[in-house]
Amino acid sequence: MATVRLQREPFDAASEAAQLRRGRGDIGAIVTFTGICRQDEAGAPLVAMTLEHYPDMAEAEIARHVETAEHRWPLLGVTVIHRYGRILPGEDIVLVVTAAAHRQDAFAAAEFLMDYLKTRAPFWK
């Protein structure tokens, strides 16, 4: 049920969400969070952001947090995609999709994962 991917390329949030729910009748709520590189990410105008990461460690750590989320909330699917490398303003950085029977679980898990990804995941701006 869980997908974790780190990639240089852009992702397609809609097709990831579609894949998560395909052929299922038990999902009542899907939360999709997209994190976007802002023009003024650092307070000043930004030309591009370069996101460095610790490849194998980042994947393992994110997967561990996805497992924690799956234990904490009754999820029916989770997808996390994080880009690295050079990212331009307006481009997507990170995607979290959570699926559950009920909205509260999907929201809580998406927020939990994003809090981790935005503060403690092995990435450096």
């Binding site: 460095e52 610790y54 460690m57 393992a60 950085i93 935005k118 503060t119 092995p122 990435f123 450096w124």
Partner: protein, 83 residues
């Protein structure tokens, strides 16, 4: 033993990774940082404030007093910023 550097630790040292033969007496992450600092100005600069440096052994976070004997890969990096 492979040692990897990320973000400004890498920038200060000027390389992303290297193979190191550990001398006797280097038992912990803190020992290794102290020993690396002696290798040149770039290392001294990178590790000038060891308290802010984070470390991982074989891709798991560890504290400075963690033992490094038998480790395959040790990484040093600043606090993570998240994505």
């Amino acid at each position: 033993m492979k040692v990897r550097y990320f973000a400004w630790v890498r920038e200060r040292i000027g390389k992303p990774e290297e193979e190191i033969d550990l001398p006797a007496g280097i038992a912990t992450v803190a020992d290794l940082m102290a020993w690396l600092s002696e290798r040149g100005e770039e290392y001294a600069y990178a590790f000038e404030n060891p308290k802010v440096i984070r470390a991982a052994i074989d891709r798991a976070h560890v504290r400075p007093d963690a033992g490094i004997i038998g480790a395959r890969e040790i990484a040093f990096f600043p606090p993570m910023t998240g994505g």
